[in-house]
């Protein structure tokens, strides 16, 4: 019989096995993390190394060219700019409004429950399906307009072609549908995170439902909504397949509306109004195109990738910043 209890791990076999298992598990986890980081760093490193030499200011002021030395990402940047601006304008109000309705106003009927369940399904639909939808609805508009008509608005200041054809607005509407479920779900989560007690306190002070939403719930949920929106838009920036389906050009110098500089953007309203109805490309598509051409464009593609990653990093960084600020300000 052993003497008084000992707390040192003696040569006990069971104890040693437990410790060994623990160490093995910890090592496996470490390997997983480091492999992931290693792959990421390698990818980034290779891309950066390939892109060196291409990332000159000239790269940003030129579109596609048959010569790799004269190719640039300008058309891609502007196309993405218009695409994302319009997508934001279409998807955010609709998405946030839908989420507010579902969370704050809708009563719990079978219809509401059906909608809520199917939102997650919609978020998982492959993007190419949205591409096909966009092609039929926005690009061709079911063939309702025959060979197409042109609407002259604002005394000819603005010409709207119907159907939209292979224009930025068709692409933006398609992308809006794509990210709409994500925006709705993220907004729902943000609204749910606002404690019910805040709403009840607001009602008890004699507020209507809209006043409560506008003055208490939405401001409190705003950081979560903003984060979700930014992440949804980041996803939209990287999409390629649906855009190709709705007619984005792969190799081009065209910037929508002919707006090639920020100056034009600010000073030429007619071009700005005509831009959504113009043809376009986007950064991921330009990159894809360059990779397809051949090895001589590899470095150009790599430079494009660096620019795209930089933009995405900025977006995600902004989302993180907003989340941090929210955490510091709102402590329930």
């Amino acid at each position: 019989m052993t003497s008084t209890a000992s707390f040192t791990s003696s040569g006990d076999a069971v104890m040693r096995r437990r410790l060994l298992l623990s160490t093995v598990f910890r090592t496996v986890c470490r390997i997983a993390v480091y492999s992931a980081i290693f792959v990421l760093v390698t990818l980034l490193g290779v891309v950066l190394w390939l892109a060196i030499g291409r990332l000159t200011p000239a790269f940003f002021s030129r579109g596609h060219s048959a010569f790799p030395d004269r190719a640039g990402i300008q058309a891609g940047i502007w196309g993405t700019f218009w695409l994302i601006s319009l997508t934001t304008i279409f998807s955010l109000p609709v998405g946030i409004g839908a989420a507010v309705y579902l969370e704050e106003y809708a009563s719990d009927t079978w219809l509401t429950r059906l909608i809520k369940v199917n939102l997650s399904n919609l978020a998982g639909v492959p993007s190419i399906v949205y591409g096909m939808l966009g092609l039929t609805v926005f690009v061709r508009m079911f063939g309702l307009f025959g060979h197409g008509i042109k609407l002259n608005l604002l005394n000819g200041f603005l010409v709207v072609p119907l159907p939209f054809g292979k224009s930025v607005i068709a692409g933006a509407l398609t992308m809006s549908l794509l990210i709409l479920p994500v925006v709705i779900i993220a907004t729902q989560e943000a609204l749910r995170a606002v404690p019910r007690s805040i709403r009840i306190a607001s009602f008890a002070l004699g507020a209507t439902r809209w006043q409560t939403i506008r003055n208490q719930v939405l401001p409190a949920a705003l950081p979560g909504i903003a984060t979700g929106a930014i992440l949804a838009i980041s996803r939209a920036i990287g999409e390629t397949a649906p855009l190709i389906m709705v007619g984005a050009i792969t190799y081009t110098r065209i910037c929508p509306g002919g707006v090639e500089s920020v100056g034009t953007l600010l000073t030429d309203p007619q071009r700005v109004l005509s831009a959504p109805f113009d043809m376009y490309t986007a950064m991921p598509i330009a990159i894809y195109g360059w990779i397809r051409v051949g090895p001589e464009f590899t470095s150009v593609a790599a430079a494009g990738i660096v620019v795209l990653l930089f933009v995405l990093t900025c977006f995600n960084g902004f989302a993180v910043y907003i989340r941090q600020r929210a955490r510091n300000k709102l402590k329930w």
């Binding site: 007690s197 009840i200 306190a201 002070l205 004699g206 507020a207 208490q216 300000k329 402590k331």
Partner: protein, 275 residues
């Protein structure tokens, strides 16, 4: 039935004279035969209660007896819960609050509520208190500034926060937050204040401040307070109503209820035989 099984009633807080004759005060809040259902489940049975103006009425009873539910009927907060149904008459200042002509938003300005857990809005102290008047349409900044000061003084919080009205309300302590919520309720200039266990989440020092506050406020407001703390009920109220399993068992002067209850159940509860 006489009983001296309970200890003598603790002294009342300053401002509450339990021997005061309330018959000269008009009846502010009255329920007549009120029944209430959560779905199919009836939780209030034929509750008839009269509350005089500018008095403090305590609602006591074991958990689940319906006292909080009844309280919430008085400013129709139960409307926010789906599947609830009420029958009987509930009169506030003579008007049946469940009738179609009553605007529930206006009712809630008139009948304020303080909750068990203080819920300051994640805004500044000033904006918290100004919220009620603002959503009612008040835009005059000068008026709001004066109103905020007056409410904070009535809630005995002014001295502690007067230099930091633009600070976040979330930075206040628990007791301060609850007084802030009281000030916030006062800002809508109600006549009646409902309190649902306002001090149960607070430390004893804050609790006694809240009780003193009730004593001061009852000079101007009608107060109905739900509490599971019987000593508190006896300290702050003129009239006490004992609820059990959804029925109003007994209601009367606080001193009488706690020294000489007429119903056996009341006596059992007060002496701690159950609940």
């Amino acid at each position: 039935m006489a009983s001296d099984s309970s200890a003598s009633v603790p002294p009342s807080v300053k401002g509450v004279d339990r021997d005061q004759d309330m018959s000269s005060h008009p009846i502010n809040v009255e329920s007549r035969g009120v029944d209430f259902w959560y779905g199919d489940n009836q939780v209030l049975f034929d509750v008839s209660l009269q509350v005089p103006e500018r008095s403090v009425t305590a609602l006591i009873g074991p958990s689940g007896c319906g006292k909080s539910t009844f309280l919430r009927c008085l400013n129709r907060m139960n409307d926010l819960i789906e599947g609830t149904r009420i029958s009987g008459e509930l009169l506030v200042e003579g008007q049946d609050i469940n009738s179609k002509e009553v605007d529930v938003v206006l009712l809630r300005k008139h009948v304020g509520m303080v909750f068990q857990k203080s819920t300051p809005f994640p805004k500044t102290i000033f904006d918290n208190i100004a919220y009620g008047p603002r959503i009612a349409g008040q835009k005059n900044r000068g008026y709001l500034v004066d109103l905020v000061e007056s409410c904070l003084k009535q809630a005995a919080l002014w001295d502690e926060v007067k230099d930091r009205l633009q600070d976040s309300a979330m930075a206040l302590s628990g007791g301060q937050q609850q007084r802030l919520c009281i000030a916030r309720t006062l800002a809508t200039t109600p006549k009646i204040i409902l309190m649902d266990e306002p001090a149960s989440a607070l430390d004893p020092a804050s609790t006694s401040r809240i009780e003193d506050l009730i004593g001061e406020l009852c000079a101007e407001y009608t107060i109905i307070i739900v509490t599971h703390n019987m000593q508190q009920a006896s300290r702050v109220s003129h009239q006490t109503a004992f609820f059990f399993e959804g029925k109003l068992i007994e209601v009367g002067r606080t001193t009488q209820i706690f020294t000489n209850p007429k119903q056996k159940r009341t006596e059992d509860y007060i002496t701690g035989r159950f609940g």
